[in-house]
Symmetry: C2
Subunit: 397 residues, 2 copies
Amino acid sequence: MYLGSQLFTDAEYETRLANVRTMMDRQGLSAIIVTDPANIFYLIGYNAWSFYTPQMLFVPMDGEMVFFAREMDAHGAHRTTWLPAEQIVGYPESYVHRPHVHPFDWVAFALRQRHLIAPASRGGSVGMEMDSHFFSPKAYRALFNAIPEWKLVDCFELVNWVRSVKSDAEIQLMRQAGMVCSEAMRAAIDTIDIGVRQCDAAAAISQAQITGTDKFGGDYPAIVPMMPTGAAADTPHLTWHQGTFISGEAVVVELTGAHNRYHCPLARTVALGPVNKDVDYVAGATAEGLNNVLEAIAPGVPTRELASTWNWTLAKYGLEKHSRLGYSIGIGYPPDWGERTISIRTEDESILEENMTFHIVCGMWMDGYGFELSESVRVSATGVETFTSFPRDLIRK
Amino acid sequence: MYLGSQLFTDAEYETRLANVRTMMDRQGLSAIIVTDPANIFYLIGYNAWSFYTPQMLFVPMDGEMVFFAREMDAHGAHRTTWLPAEQIVGYPESYVHRPHVHPFDWVAFALRQRHLIAPASRGGSVGMEMDSHFFSPKAYRALFNAIPEWKLVDCFELVNWVRSVKSDAEIQLMRQAGMVCSEAMRAAIDTIDIGVRQCDAAAAISQAQITGTDKFGGDYPAIVPMMPTGAAADTPHLTWHQGTFISGEAVVVELTGAHNRYHCPLARTVALGPVNKDVDYVAGATAEGLNNVLEAIAPGVPTRELASTWNWTLAKYGLEKHSRLGYSIGIGYPPDWGERTISIRTEDESILEENMTFHIVCGMWMDGYGFELSESVRVSATGVETFTSFPRDLIRK
């Protein structure tokens, strides 16, 4: 049976928690409430599709962490987390999807009964992931109303920031995700063709994503394959439909490989027959821009310099891109494989460090067509490692 | 190109909005802020994997709806929504994933500039989906701080409740989702076997889900295939791993068919070789319970009676189930295919109406094994319609 806790050593989990507590101390927090499933997985290994009902990990500065989930999920949590049974608490089914109560009403009371409220309110504020998916205003107000002792503040993606520099074990999983990604992109390129239904191409990609390789399996992607096509490729987030690909269309394929929740996304563009010459022009400029950005990557380089490198290259061709050039990646759960921390753009203030990992996305959503090219990369000791190795040209079929 | 708006007539969209406004009037609301992607799809047809950045539909009692999304998504929104361009507004990229601002800071100002705040504050309160996925406390506080004129209240899944009775066009899509579901379940039963890797079975299911049928394609499922296996089937929400199925295991398969965002889920249990006799015992009791529940379904019947029918049948066998017996289904986006309104349990106060649709889930998560059996159904004029027709026995291989 798969046990998430076997993925990493006890020492690695201890380091993660210590790093989180260092950040907590710096932000003057006595405890944090962790609700993002990726952060929960990072700290305790818990992994199940249970995040559609509320769950939280209570992380105090001192003392043990406690994980709260729906009763049926708490019951089996030990299959993926290393937390001992006494630190896993299930809330009753009668709190699920009912208008006048919220599971965190119960959780707040459980925290009180366990004498966990006073210690957390003594030394400072209690941090919450105020912009986390799956942490609703109702959940927030339940805690706010039931625990007036706490000074609730935003912890500003505290755990996400700790995640931004990867351990060697994490890099290994991302390399495996990269191999799964290569299989999926190969399936995409093999399948996408004139006359083929979009859904059949998506099905082939999806199968490759989950099959993985002979040696290890694929995990579910945090985002399904996206394939904006032809004129509709002027916007990035359309999924497939049941119509067929037609000659003259450029098909943007953005997909990921996933392995044990770690992600390695990749985008390429497939030209079906003769396409608008503008696509070729943009493809050339974009590939040059991406190459320049990859060459600029090294520890110590400010992320905003990567954005400038990209902007300058594009400007030579009279082009520009308004959206960010990339973002930090690693663990992902639907709906997003990004870490919501570092974005590569001129306003960003981060400095590259070894073992940071990014999806560099050169997405050009033009009027009436689109082109996309990306790489998932690691900042290495001296430069950059790409997790996959597909040619960066427009793919012609 | 696929246009979501072509799925339903203008008249159907008008009826949906009118029904929502009737509920708004009943709850004394002058406007609602709709953030649940399923509710946005229901009201305006907008459909893209863009819900990982904030988006909202402003629905006033009087006047036109306005949809706010990230700039790159607003740009292509017309490909799936029938809303005219002037009612689609993109917020700048510089508000995406930054610690000190939120897109709804900008949206609040845009609402003010469009003179939409005063009308909404005059007649009553403004309702928000306080427990919606993808509506964070930070988003809520952005609106709360920037629009002090509004009395913000919980609208309690208002649009979700309107969705609970389906139109004929919706039922047609759910029947198609049922056909996709049958293909996916067949793929599961064909593939799951001793020595097969779990990930390979999940890959086959996923391919069938997205391929759909020869006549129409499948859409992405709101929840990936779940397959708790053997001892780990004592908890429902585990996904697959890369290990192989072994003899003596009972494999619980819960999956869905999806078509144009409408869902039809189904669960069956596959016994690999000789399994624990307790599984047979539970399988028999569960099938009898489900059959009794299906026979009890008809318009006018209280949902709590279905729960009682189930409980009584189970009690005959000395069994009980703590969690709800089912829930309302229809449109789904990750992470949930349920509508978060009617739950079939003894505390529920709903009365069945024709064209309500449910997933009746008889999930028995026992100690050391599990068994699951379900049907997706429509309340018909006189009884029940099941969307698929698999035998309800334990499947032996």
